[in-house]
Amino acid sequence: MLSNITIGQYFPGNSILHRLDPRVKVLLLFFFLIEIFLFSNAVAYGIFSAVAFALMLLSGIPLGMLLRSLKPLWWIILFTFVIHLFSNPGTPIAKFWWFTLTWEGIRMGCFISLRLVLLILMSSLLTFTTSPLKLTDALESLLSPFRRFGLPAHELAMMMTIALRFIPTLIEETDKIMKAQQSRGADFTTGNVMKRLRNMVPILVPLFLSAFRRADELAMAMEARCYRGGVGRTQMKSLKTGGVDYLAIAGFVLLTVSLLGIKVLA
């Protein structure tokens, strides 16, 4: 019943995007998203869309799959679009009731929706081409400079690793407990919200108890294997920045420079 839940949406492959250092990917994505918000002229949006499309093709991931990641946010995009259509003062085209449709509104609506679409597509491109484990490593590495200010970078990453390890196990366990309760006549599918919530209690209590027991045993197993926090620890799969990464960074710098150029000229 619960077994079809997958964590993240990693799509294994061997494209250039897959091979990039995850840290470089995260940083470039971060700056790319900032630029989407900074440059808002038509040419810039054309370039952004072209880049996004090129990267999607490069990733080797079926386009349909990438586009499907837009689905959960489809309504929000539509809503934002409609709001902008009517909320911008400018040259009126038509009037519905109290609302005035303006040229500026259409322009703005298109921009904002495109912005959202690009944001979602580029972010999912990251999660599609980077395994959750690599993302965790990247997170640890990128956050480690902030350790100086008390940010527990290693601990956060370790928590994510353990979560990734145990989510499937806990899902299996939930499934088992639900089946056990159902076989004794428990009902999770009918009744109003309150009743269903109340019926969840017999699942959650054993699940929590077992999760605590697991945590206890896991802590012991980690200690037995010489775990003593992030100090002095090395990594088998240390992240390496190579040729492809410098190429990607160079490409990004080029993009930024040309966007600045266009902005200055316009």
């Binding site: 484990l133 690793t161 045993e217 896991l218 197993a221 090395t234 088998m236 799969k237």
Partner: protein, 282 residues
């Protein structure tokens, strides 16, 4: 110098509270390098408590515990001890840490600060040693119980451990998984001379060891070779333990006056002895 030396070890859980319980009571034990020792005992006899003292997961209330002369009470020596003593616990699900098999095996060496190439080599060699190299990139939840326990063993091997302490590693496994794990442990003992401390409830598993230590109420009740230990059927029963089926049958038959040799341990030996006996009496 003995590899493991336990001197006058007493452990009391929650001392000074109403839940106070004496789990180990003046235990003395010494295990040589390269021995295969099975530890038997009923529930609550203190086996796990003893095992956890061997690498400093628990510290003695009284007495001392030495590994190659290193004292588990000495904080500076603790990491060296944990590197030498690999632990495998009962529940296969709660001792694998990483979401991919090879990352999990790498966990110990990473903690020891080895360099990446060395870790990679150790991980490959350890997975090979437990015959799990094929499953390098699997997620642990896709493996069977026996396979998970073998990964846990590989995780210890990757730290270059000299001794494996296994606390009922087969208790939650099906017969096939039990067989896999025991075979792997035996192989590591024979081929690499790794010292084994194997806690179990299964008499058949204990009978493959060089030596059996029987725990009862926090004390060592008996200590000897499997033949010696199982020969004392009344003594075993007093500790609440059974003996292997063949031993039980021989014991009952000898009581009926049927003269079978006393030191029979396995079912094969029993069959042989019975054949010899019937030939003789015809």
């Amino acid at each position: 110098m003995a590899f493991i030396k336990v001197e006058n070890l007493t452990h009391i859980y929650h001392p000074g509270t109403p839940q106070e319980s004496v789990a180990l009571d003046k235990v003395n034990l010494s295990i040589e390098a390269g021995e295969f020792v099975a530890v038997l005992g009923t529930n609550g006899s203190g086996k796990s408590t003893l095992a956890r003292h061997l690498n400093g997961l628990l510290l003695p209330t009284e007495g001392r515990c030495f590994i190659r002369g290193l004292d588990t009470c000495n904080e500076q020596e603790l990491w060296q001890i944990r590197q030498q003593i690999g632990m495998v616990f009962q529940n296969p699900d709660n001792q694998l840490i990483a979401a991919v098999v090879e990352d999990d095996v790498a966990f110990g060496p990473e903690n020891l600060g080895m360099d990446p190439q060395e870790i990679r080599a150790k991980v490959n060699a350890s997975l090979q040693a437990v015959n799990m190299a094929k499953y390098r990139t699997f997620a642990p939840h896709l493996l069977s119980g026996g396979q998970k326990q073998r990964i846990a063993i590989a995780g210890a091997l990757a730290m270059d451990t000299d001794c494996l302490v296994l606390d009922e590693p087969t208790a939650m496994l099906d017969p096939q998984g039990r067989e896999e794990v025991l075979r792997t442990v035996q192989k590591l003992h024979e081929e690499r001379g790794i010292t084994i401390v194997y806690i179990t409830h299964f008499m058949e598993e204990a009978s493959v060891a060089d030596r059996i230590v029987v725990m009862d109420k926090g004390q060592v009740a008996a200590d000897g070779t499997p033949r010696e230990i199982f020969a004392d059927v009344p003594g075993m029963k007093k500790c609440g333990l059974d003996v292997p089926l063949a031993v039980e049958v021989v014991w009952q038959l000898r009581h009926q006056g049927i003269k079978l040799p006393e030191d029979i341990l396995t079912e094969d030996e029993l069959v042989e002895a019975l054949e010899a006996y019937t030939c003789q009496s015809n």
